[in-house]
Symmetry: C2
Subunit: 172 residues, 2 copies
């Protein structure tokens, strides 16, 4: 990650990443399919955590309360890694291919959350809307938190953003 920030994603080779991490290139490829995977390796487990949290919400929870539980789980996973997250974000922002890949991961997350809501008995279009709204909050809150200078709590920013979305949609 440091290398990506120092040199840019395109200019960094797998050999350099492996060397910095004290690995051989061969060991590197045992963990990551390619150098993009260094940035996206956490996406699958993030998605699993969010879906689990959604499924674990009380039966009585409304669709957005279940989404809120998922966002709390995201905050718990990502909130500890402010420096890593900021670096990762800046590397992705600088590269069109990586930005696209991030969009795909977010679309996949939205689809997984919508499916999770459907398994909870939420019908369409509510399931799709609540999932899309949840991912919108996640993205905006994450962006705010990553660019914030002080040590703000991601969980707090996430909940504030959800409240802000509520206030925005109420006023239309």
């Amino acid at each position: 990650m440091e290398l990506y920030v120092e040199r840019g994603f395109e200019q960094t080779t797998v050999a350099e990443i492996a060397q910095r991490a004290g690995l051989t290139a061969r060991t590197f490829f045992r963990y990551f399919a390619d150098k993009r995977e260094v940035l996206f390796a956490g996406s699958a487990s993030l998605q699993d955590s969010l879906v689990s949290a959604l499924e674990g919400a009380p039966e009585s929870a409304s669709p957005m309360q279940a989404i809120s539980a998922a966002l709390d789980a995201a905050a718990a996973m990502l909130g500890e890694r402010h420096d890593f997250s900021r670096q990762r974000q800046s590397v992705i922002a600088a590269n069109a291919e990586l930005r696209e890949r991030e969009l795909i991961k977010m679309a996949s997350l939205s689809a997984a959350l919508a499916d999770g809501l459907r398994r909870r008995g939420v019908t369409d279009p509510d399931a799709g809307l609540a999932a899309e709204a949840g991912v919108a909050v996640l993205r905006v809150a994450f962006e705010r938190w990553v660019t914030a200078t002080g040590d703000r709590d991601l969980l707090q920013v996430m909940r504030e953003s959800l409240d802000q979305l509520k206030a925005l949609t109420a006023d239309r």
Copy 2:
């Protein structure tokens, strides 16, 4: 478009598209950079229309009211072309590269709407949240409308979806 539906996007050549449309391949390339552009040629003007509608909303309009004006403009542009829209959607859904391109267009639309809101004096994170929520409503409403069998009015579906998002976020 018919050819994409009949044969699949990958199997259709520019020569075939041009022939069906009564054009030479050379004329085709005067209108479209490549065969994907047949599907995405409308994206730029759609984005322009939405941003114009947002800018044209009364000064007193709340952020979501301005977004709602943009969604009405989208409904006016897309609502007349139910068959085309359904075919386009099915071609895109069947091809990963096209799905990605659609995601990129939607991200670009969201960024343009957020910029439009900022020019109206809306601060962050509200601008980003309202824009993301607007695009979420657009996607879900469009999907509902495209898959609906009867002749539902896209404008109506769009407004219902926005109300539904309001109800969902209120209950959290």
